[in-house]
């Protein structure tokens, strides 16, 4: 599926560098969210163009946030390549992100599914709120895991909630109780995904070779860092903040302590997985017999998202 182009007027060729920028951006992404959409849509018997629109929408929103995020954080790399703001210009990066969101609105409004448009607008709003708040947490070394969860709920989980709800709305299933369950499922997936991403920063289950301690060096205490340092004294926390390598972290905290806390963090998140499985059970009553296979598909997601099982 060519996610980039849904409508003929997506990405006009007369705009300089626009297509090159997007080709760079979409080339190396994993497309997890669009794959999730496709998985769910399969069971709801959505038409190809519907699935295409949903998949494009979520990838556009996600990639728009990446374009803006990299500029805000001044990250030089994205997916091991030079970030768009650096390769092109910061102005183009901002405009490119805005353009993706504008195309989302154009394509969705042409399609005409009002509840889907409403949901999408809310998700974009939540994403931006989360980004705004997260920016205020740079160099806030005492931020708690609970407050980080609230930010991640806006930033990361909102997209997963959209992935869960979008296909059902497209299929015309707008039952309130169904969507409350989908919201819970999406929220929990988002939290698990974010926490797993935060563990990559400490080289835990880092199969994709993400840069180590990138968050810490950028002045951001991610969820695992907040969990690790919660009960430490001020001196140890200050030393932790100065860490440049994982060896520095082990030296400051002690390797045994580090891995003990990792085990506790994993146990903490296993409760989240159990809660996810609990809510998945309640989804059963909203599905016809031929749709029950969706439950098995959704049940495998925590393994993929948190434990990074391929």
């Amino acid at each position: 599926m060519n996610l980039k182009v849904y409508a003929p007027d997506d990405f006009p060729s007369y705009l300089p560098k626009l297509n090159a920028l997007y080709d760079d951006l979409f080339k190396h992404g994993k497309g997890f969210r669009s794959k999730l959409i496709q998985r769910i849509s399969k069971y709801l018997q959505l038409k190809d163009d519907q699935v295409h629109l949903l998949a494009q929408t979520i990838e556009f929103i996600h990639n728009a946030s990446l374009l803006h995020d990299d500029l805000i954080d001044r990250s030089p790399l994205r997916r091991d390549k030079t970030a768009a703001w650096l390769k092109y210009t910061p102005e183009y990066a901002v405009l490119a992100g805005d353009y993706l969101l504008a195309r989302v609105m154009v394509n969705l409004s042409r399609y005409g599914n009002l509840p889907l448009i409403q949901l999408t607008a809310e998700v974009i709003s939540d994403l931006l709120e989360g980004e705004w708040i997260q920016d205020s947490l740079i160099e806030d070394w005492d931020v708690s895991l609970q407050q980080l969860d609230r930010v991640h709920h806006l930033k990361t989980a909102s997209l997963f909630k959209w992935c869960m709800r979008g296909p059902f709305i497209m299929a015309g299933k707008n039952d309130d109780e169904l969507h409350k369950t989908l919201i819970e499922l999406g929220s929990l997936l988002g939290i698990l995904f974010q926490r797993s991403d935060d563990l990559l920063d400490f080289n835990i289950r880092n199969n994709e070779g993400k840069a180590i301690l990138g968050d810490l060096k950028s002045g951001y205490m991610n969820s695992f860092a907040a969990f690790l340092t919660k009960e430490l004294n001020e001196k140890k926390r200050a030393q932790f903040r100065e860490s440049q390598t994982l060896e520095d972290v082990y030296k400051t905290l002690g390797e045994d302590f580090f891995f003990k806390k990792l085990e506790e963090f994993d146990q903490h998140n296993m409760k989240v997985i159990s809660l996810y499985e609990h809510h998945l059970e309640s989804l059963k009553k909203y599905l016809h017999t031929e749709q029950q296979g969706l439950l098995a598909d959704l049940a495998s997601l925590p393994g993929i998202l948190y434990w990074r099982k391929v």
Binding site: L137, H153, E184, M270, K271, S274, L275
Partner: protein, 348 residues
């Protein structure tokens, strides 16, 4: 594997899970809500065996439930005014005991009702967290609250019988307290100014009524001191609401933090903190030729130090999610605790 149960809030078993009456060997711990406006008509609980929860000793649970750290807003102001009134006899002792038990009752009931209304699922920083951690069942907290309440009435009754006009102060406090905590059309909570009722009830009304009970009269300086106490109590409430502003906004809960917004509330906190200093400076000034002048001067210095740290913390808050916002209520209660402890000691 953790075990969960989701129940409709209209189902008869919901109340049983909430109060902890569904089982003697298990606890139903409320699952926190991240989607603040999704409370709806369902609630999810994690079912945990009592033996799987490391239980604290009962005296420690009672201590945490009691919230000694908030004495600076209740008992210590009462004690300060009692000593200022110069009375050392049995009414003072009874009043202090009544205030102690009333403090315990208020915060235990607060924990219970926050839990029963599901407020505790939206914010992890409210109350003692004993119910949410499975240390006490909600029904136990409710019973403890009633014990405190009965003891408060028993110890306070002789004072009312000795001076029946105290009933008017009590009635005013109860009416204000009720208006301040209800969302009804007469309630001020819906107008997002329940901080004002907190200011009155833990401020001038408290100091005025205690002074009246002790000495049969109220002096202006005692009311002014009450303004200082009330402002600190209001700052505490507003600081709490500042850190929960994100979830309150999304849940449609109208606090002053939500109504004014982040920037204006910060400005208000700064103004209130500066006014607290102004109150103590004024009281010190009017004591210029009086016997307590040096004591007030020392208290003023202490207030200045505490207000400085509070202002520094307020100005460093960058957003409702920041750690400074989370820690501000505890800082305010600590500052008020030390100020009132010093006042209490100096007047003794």
């Amino acid at each position: 594997m953790a075990q969960f149960v989701t129940v409709e809030t209209t189902a008869p078993e919901y109340r049983c899970y909430l109060r902890g009456e569904f089982s003697k060997s298990e606890r139903a711990l409320p699952v926190p809500l991240l989607e603040a406006n999704a409370r709806g008509n369902q609630a999810t609980f994690q079912i945990v065996s009592v033996t799987d929860i490391k239980q604290k000793p009962f005296y420690l649970k009672l201590t945490e439930l009691y919230r000694f750290e908030l004495w600076g807003f209740t008992l210590l102001p009462v004690g300060t005014i009692c000593e200022w009134a110069g009375d050392r006899s049995w009414p003072t002792l009874l009043l202090l005991f009544a205030a102690m038990f009333f403090h315990g009752a208020v915060f235990a009931f607060n924990d219970y009702f926050d839990h029963m209304q599901g407020v505790d699922r939206m914010s992890e920083k409210r109350g003692s967290r004993l119910i949410q951690e499975g240390q006490l069942r909600a029904i136990d907290v409710y019973r403890i609250a009633w014990v405190y309440w009965v003891l408060a009435i028993l110890t306070g009754l002789p004072l009312i019988l000795q001076n029946p006009k105290v009933i008017y102060f009590l009635a005013a406090g109860i009416i204000l307290g009720t208006l301040g905590s209800t969302y009804s059309r007469f309630g001020v909570k819906a107008l997002a100014i329940n901080d004002f009722t907190v200011f009155l009830c833990l401020g001038p009304l408290l100091t005025g009524s205690v002074a009246y009970v002790m000495a049969g009269k109220i002096s202006a300086p005692q009311l002014v001191l009450g303004v200082g106490f009330g402002l600190m109590a209001a700052i505490y409430v507003q600081a709490r609401h500042l850190s929960t502003a994100m979830s309150d906004y999304r849940a449609g809960v109208q606090t002053l933090a939500v109504r004014l917004g982040f920037d204006k509330l910060k400005a208000l906190l700064v103004l209130e903190a500066a006014t607290v200093f102004g109150v103590y400076a004024f009281l010190t000034g009017i004591q210029w030729h009086e016997e307590h002048f040096l004591k007030f001067l020392v208290v003023l210095l202490l207030v200045a130090i505490n207000i400085f740290f509070m202002l520094k913390s307020i100005l460093e808050i960058r957003s409702p999610a920041s750690s400074r916002a989370e820690s501000l209520p505890a800082l305010v209660s600590r500052c008020q605790f030390w100020i009132t402890i010093f006042l209490f000691v100096f007047f003794a």
